[in-house]
Amino acid sequence: MGLKLKALTKSPWVFHVSAGSCNNCDIEILDCLCPRFDIERFGALLVGSVRHADALLVTGAMNRKSAMRVKKLYDQAPKPCLVLAIGTCACDQGIFRGSYALTTPLDELLPGAVTAYVPGCPPKPEAIISGLVKALQTLQDK
């Protein structure tokens, strides 16, 4: 494993994309930054611009309007960039599946890009952190 990769696993800056979620997953993501969980221990930071991001945390069921934005954001992110589906909605659209407002699920929209799925409604912060760690491990295996 090269130094670059090692540095990447030690410093994953995350960008949070809420694509039609109910807010819970988003709050639990923010909660990861807070004193009890403090993901800065692992070098992770929540960044304001997608250009600074190493991982996109996507939440929500993706409706027709936000799906296009998610795709655009993914294109704007400098590679390598991980994508994590946070919450049941992002994984398989959950309770909203079949609604007229929704469109393709995340893994069809960004084929092959989703590294980790963190189910739960909402997933606990521990689960989100564990998902991030596992996603980073896939980088090391390469």
Partner: protein
């Protein structure tokens, strides 16, 4: 020259997707447009395909931080429709859950407000105090959010009385911390300078827009569904409606903080007064008819309307979240302010888009044609050119 500064749809200010277009002249906002729809999931249609007993699970997911208030409003609408009496213990349980939610929601807002002001210490401290509230929620209901406690005619689960002493103890702690936060906010001169007189919402404008919750209570209109249309156990315990008349962002912050103290009071009294008993009235059938239910969410009144044709599903379910009424007030509050203030003003109504958008997309533009991407780029390039000239390049 007017520049358009987009805030959103994916912006760290907002934990949810939203697009505000601030028309900015220098640093002053001259106009604002809101575009919503990034969160629209068609919940009202989904509800028509669920049975009356399943709908609470759907409306719970309208919004994560109002995940007790929407089901409360919904079950009250159905209870209104079918004239159902709810057992007293269930009423107390409903109050406890909704107040716990209000506590964590207001603390969450306080933290985010601090974050927007670049005051990350406040963010971290508020969220640290919020954590025990979530623990209590998890112990009492089984989940940190989305409690799945409400059902038509009562509640789904009883509260475990053996947990009450430890809950009360943590409420005492929280009380102390909240008082400290109140002191910190009211004593900080920089916060006064940043928040006082900013984002004025006059009582007249508040009424015209139909603003709700802390937003309107900070404009000197003391309306609160919990007192005005008592539901759950709010008429069985003693508490006060908080209202100030400063009409600004500072007032909204103070109202929320003081409301937290009231919530602690309500939870304590509910746990005290609660007596063993039935928690469910065992509803079998919903007759045809229509019903209305409303509840005071942390952000204001949630309003639900349900119509039944006698089958096991509602034929129409309408949900209106408080932000739906509060957000448009941004036109009254941000115009004329600086872009720096715009963010905290937008945040001061505690916008909750996932609520607002379960059904709607709206645009608060003043009828002027929204600019497309190309024009935006052109404008931004012009601004850059202007900047260059200013720099003497």
């Amino acid at each position: 020259m007017t520049t358009i500064v987009p805030i959103g749809p994916f912006h760290p200010l907002l934990e949810e997707p939203e697009l505000f277009r601030l028309h900015v002249d220098g640093e002053t906002v001259v106009d604002i447009e809101v575009e919503i729809g990034w969160n629209h999931r068609g919940i009202e249609k989904i509800c028509e395909t669920k049975t009356f007993d399943q709908v609470p699970f759907v409306v719970e997911r309208i919004c994560g931080i109002c995940s007790a208030c929407h089901p409360t409003a919904y079950v009250q609408a159905v209870e209104d429709l079918a004239d159902i009496e709810v057992p007293e213990r269930a009423l107390y349980i409903r109050s406890v859950i909704t107040e716990l939610e209000r506590l964590h929601s207001h603390l969450l807002w306080l933290g985010l407000a601090g974050h927007f002001l670049g005051y990350n210490t406040v963010f971290m401290w508020a969220w640290k105090y919020r954590e025990p509230v979530l623990d209590i929620c998890e112990e009492l209901t089984g989940n940190r959010n989305n409690y799945a406690m409400l059902k038509v005619g009562g509640v789904r689960r009883d509260l475990d009385e053996s947990l009450f002493p430890s809950v009360l103890e943590r409420m005492d702690d929280l009380d102390k911390h909240l008082n400290m936060l109140v002191g910190a906010v009211t004593d900080d001169p920089v916060l006064h300078a940043r928040l006082k007189g900013v984002g004025i919402l006059t009582p007249e404008a508040a009424r015209a827009y139909g603003a709700l919750g802390p937003t309107v209570r900070a404009s000197g209109i003391p309306i609160d569904v919990r007192r005005d249309h008592p539901y759950a156990a709010y008429d069985l315990v003693d508490w006060d409606v908080i209202s100030v008349d400063s009409c600004d962002v500072y007032g909204r912050a103070v109202v929320r903080l003081l409301e937290c103290l009231e919530s602690v009071k309500i939870i304590r009294r509910c746990l005290d007064q609660m007596r063993p008993g039935e928690i469910d009235s065992g509803v079998k059938e919903i007759p045809p008819g229509e019903g209305i239910g409303h509840a005071e969410a942390p952000r204001g009144e949630t309003f639900h309307y349900v119509r039944s044709d006698g089958t096991n599903r509602p034929i129409r379910h309408k949900a209106r979240a408080p932000t739906y009424m509060n957000l448009p007030t941004c036109r009254a509050t941000t115009v004329g302010e600086s872009i720096t203030d715009a963010t905290i003003i937008l945040a001061s109504v505690d916008p909750c888009y996932s609520c607002t958008e379960r059904m709607g997309v709206y645009d608060a533009s003043t009828g002027q044609k929204a600019l497309d991407g190309k024009q935006l780029i052109k404008l931004s390039q012009e601004k850059t050119r202007q900047l260059r000239e200013e720099m003497g390049e």
